[in-house]
Amino acid sequence: MHHAFKLGDNEHNLELSRSASAYRLHLGEQVVDVDLKTGADGRAWLTLGERHIEVVIATRGDDVFVHLDGEAYQLRYQHPLDRLAAQAGGSAEDNIRAPMPGSIVAVQVKAGDTVTKGQTLLVMESMKMETTIAAPRDGTVAAVTYEKGQTFDRDALLLSLEPNK
């Protein structure tokens, strides 16, 4: 079984196993003794080899949020099956996702339209500014998710193109 977390844009492979007293973290060739003791208020002590580090951890679904050394981080657990499916699926260019939360100002295309690279597909508004979403390649629009006026979160699927044959 291969596990991984996504942190920022990077994916990190890792494994966890039992040790006599707690756990071991396997990162490539590195093996580190780890343990986690959680207090009542969410504050916790992470043992990492010889180090003991105070952290605050919260989870929600596959997301793990960690406050460490004055900063907050978000890691997302990558399910082994999803990763397999992603490898077999279409290219990222087929799915156009929202770069930030916002709302749709204008939809310039509809499903079935043939588009050329650079053509305006959508105009979105966020942070009081308009952003134009252009076609990343030549192709055919498979689906448009939102209508004018609707709002969306970051990474929401805005529009998809038919996969290249």
Partner: protein
């Protein structure tokens, strides 16, 4: 100036409805309730469960096509005020706070508007008329071209102002629709884009252009007027650290001013407010050149987001002053009574990703531990268990720090930001720490383009290997499927060590 609480028993209102949300609704309610008045708030369903709704003596739900639209629906809010018997309405900032029509409608309904007169809102809300008024009154304004003066020659006159210039919507504010033109060849094109943005945001496509001061500082002055002849200034605030024309860090005193210049700019602001016989708390904003020259930018006829730093160095509760004036009281003190000591800095905590162009983030607030300690003030409208959505502005809290001097304030701020725990939604706290450690910020040598000129402050620093290891360890141990797999292996194997699949 030390403050004793006024006797509110003779006031014409005994309850105040706050027509706002988030941290400012909480802030206003705090003073309203401190005075023994009843605090009422209106809220959209998206804000149910926020601090303001929980804290208010009465909360009235309002509806609208969008959450923002409900807070802009003056008629509905006035109806809520009447239904609840509110004697006064405090508009906070943003939304209806500088809407002349709303102000007039509130007063017409027999309710006190905690703000200026409709005429003062009207005058200062129109950037062009405001500028002309200030110029005529004898105060400094920057070279400019105003479309309304003669629309036919606007482009030509703008060209004469010279590059670099700044195009602004006449009806604008908050940086919306503003464009800097450094190359006059694209002037007309930029004017058209500014017009279309002005039309969309303000329903008004009229523009004006003014000389763009390179590397300017933004310095503003807090004023208080009672509309009965008394005006004082409550010193300046420097708000030069901005991204996309929006303030992130504000402080007072300004590191750019010596005593003489401080008095000059503060007196200029008080003079402008005096020439209006201004009523309410207000802010006169200036653009301040590196050579010490300054020009009137605009006057905001409301409480500002960054008002707490002024409160921290003067001990004056600005909301209390607004309420007193709205109740018909005179200021009752003069300029010499307004004193300041120490240094205060405010940091706006935004739900945003600085490294991705300061784009807003959303998410649940799973854990919130506000910072504590001497000189630490946390003004926030969100609670643990709440959620940051894209429905509203991404500002979720303000961290206000006070110290005996700027050095102490910066040190306290770094500690407080470090101790601010907010999990579930990315915020800018780590970015703010990088910012306040930057030598230029430490030296007080910043201008409004500082962050654009120093993008490395916003960039995510490279993560030390130790930090990555700790994060992955914490995440692995907090993830059920990973623990389950590890625990499924008998201890005997584990005890042998070095097990790999």
């Amino acid at each position: 100036m030390t403050q004793t609480l006024p006797d509110t028993s003779k006031w014409p209102f005994q309850s105040v409805l706050v027509a706002n949300r988030g941290e400012i609704a909480v802030r206003v309610l705090r003073t309203v309730q401190k005075l023994g008045l009843k605090g009422i708030v209106v809220y959209h369903a998206a804000d149910r469960g926020t601090a303001a709704v929980k804290m208010a003596d009465q909360a009235i739900e309002i509806t609208g096509s969008t959450p923002v639209a409900s807070y802009l629906d003056g008629a509905q809010i006035i109806a809520a005020a009447k239904a609840s018997g509110a004697g006064a309405i405090h508009p906070g900032y943003g939304f209806l706070s500088e809407n002349k029509g709303f102000c007039a409608a509130v007063e017409a309904a027999g309710i006190r508007f905690i703000g200026p007169t409709p005429e003062q809102i009207d005058l200062m809300g129109d950037k062009v008329r405001a500028r002309n008024f200030v110029e005529k009154a004898g105060f400094p304004v920057a070279p400019s071209a105003i479309e309304d003066d003669d629309p036919q020659t606007f482009v030509e006159r703008s060209r004469k102002v010279g590059a670099p210039l700044l195009i602004k919507p006449s009806a604008g504010g908050g940086g919306k629709g503003m464009r800097i033109v450094r190359d006059l060849a694209i002037l007309e094109q930029e004017i058209e884009r500014g017009r279309s943005e002005g039309q969309r945001y303000f329903g008004d496509g009229r523009l004006y252009c003014e000389r763009y001061i390179e590397n300017p500082r933004h310095i503003e002055v807090q004023v208080l007027g009672d509309g009965q002849g008394s005006v004082v200034h409550v010193f300046e605030r420097e708000c030069s650290v901005q991204r996309r024309f929006q303030k992130i860090v504000e402080e007072t005193p300004s590191p750019a001013l010596d005593a003489a210049l401080r008095e000059k700019i503060c007196e200029t602001a008080a003079g402008i407010a005096r020439s209006l016989n201004y009523r309410n708390a207000g802010t006169v904003e200036f653009i301040f050149g590196q050579g010490g020259e300054f020009y009137f930018l605009e006057m905001n006829t409301r409480l500002q987001v960054e008002h707490p730093v002024t409160e921290e160095i003067t001990g004056i509760d600005l909301v209390l002053q607004q309420l007193r004036v709205a109740a018909g009281e005179k200021l009752g003190y003069g300029q010499a009574d307004v004193k300041s000591s120490g240094h205060s800095i405010e940091f706006r905590i935004y739900a945003e990703d600085a490294a991705r162009g300061y784009t807003p983030t959303t998410g649940p607030i799973l854990v919130l531990h506000p910072p504590q300690g001497e000189g630490v003030r946390w003004d926030s409208g969100v609670l643990q268990g709440g959620e940051v959505t894209s429905a509203f502005d991404p500002m979720i809290a303000k961290l206000i720090i006070r110290g005996k001097d700027r050095t102490e304030a910066i040190a306290r701020a770094d500690k407080a930001l470090r101790e601010t725990v907010l999990l579930g939604c990315k915020t800018n706290t780590a970015f703010l720490r990088r910012l306040l450690q930057h030598p230029a910020f430490v030296a007080g040598d910043v201008h409004t383009g500082f962050l654009d000129a120093n993008p490395q402050i916003a960039a995510e620093p490279e993560m030390p290997a130790e930090t990555l290891q700790a994060l992955l360890g914490a995440a692995a141990l907090s993830t059920r499927p990973m623990r389950d797999v590890a625990d499924a292996v008998p201890d005997m194997h584990a005890a042998m060590g070095g097990w790999r699949n």
